[in-house]
Symmetry: C2
Subunit: 113 residues, 2 copies
DNA sequence: TCGCTGTATATCAGATTACTAGGTAGCGCC
DNA sequence: GGCGCTACCTAGTAATCTGATATACAGCGA
């Protein structure tokens, strides 16, 4: 499997990735990062410095609802749940990604027969 | 056809798009932007503020060679030609895009059923 | 007990890079 | 002269990722 992808291409993808894994249910930050890593085959693994600000912004936007919960082993966790508004935002981002991916495929795609 | 895509998702794509259209041959800046627009079905149309600095950076990196040429109608044009080094960079960026696109597809793709 | 590893959250400086907005300038047309 | 299109360039702004740093709890081995 290829290594972790980093750099400018990742800009703007964190929101989509976070909302995507939260379709599965309520998760906490650390777990969200691991899910993203697992689902992408190791290609994506958001750093803490990008994940946590993104979660805070999504909560402030009303896309996520959060609550503290104690853990029996380790520090407390902040669980995030996607809201109805967040589901709408997810749909938009999925569509945006599809258009972006399509356009890049057309632009970069082979032209030579 | 969908509108022009803008924002964070575009980060890191200008280099790939420019090198891609310059596979076709020698082009000048304004023309490069139009080719990118045409090839992507209107999805991408780099602004001048991102295109020209990117061209200068690629030239400084040795990926492009440039020369001024007069035009019979309108101002002079700066033509860019991809170098051998630029072709190598293009191959890298194409591969990077493929890995990125694959990873996003896996991460976002449908999991249900 | 001390230190290390793993878990878990948080913030900041620095870097990258796209966008807007503005400037300069040639050419054709009315 | 003014307008629109062509053609180049740059400064400032905004977004956001990386990497470093900080705090803190739990388990394990020396």
């Amino acid at each position: 499997m290829p290594g972790r992808i980093r750099g400018q291409l990742l800009k703007g993808t964190t929101t989509l990735l976070v909302l995507t894994v939260l379709r599965d249910g309520e998760l906490y930050g650390y777990e969200i990062a691991q899910r993203i890593r697992a689902r992408s085959g190791g290609a994506f693994f958001p750093s803490e410095g990008s994940l946590y600000p993104a979660l805070h912004a999504l909560e402030a936007d009303g896309a996520l609802e959060a609550s503290w919960q104690e853990s029996d082993r380790g520090p407390r966790r902040r669980y995030y749940k996607i809201t109805k508004s967040g589901l709408g935002m997810l749909a938009e981002h999925v569509q945006e990604w599809a258009a972006f991916s399509l356009g890049m495929g057309q632009a970069v795609g082979e032209r030579n027969r």
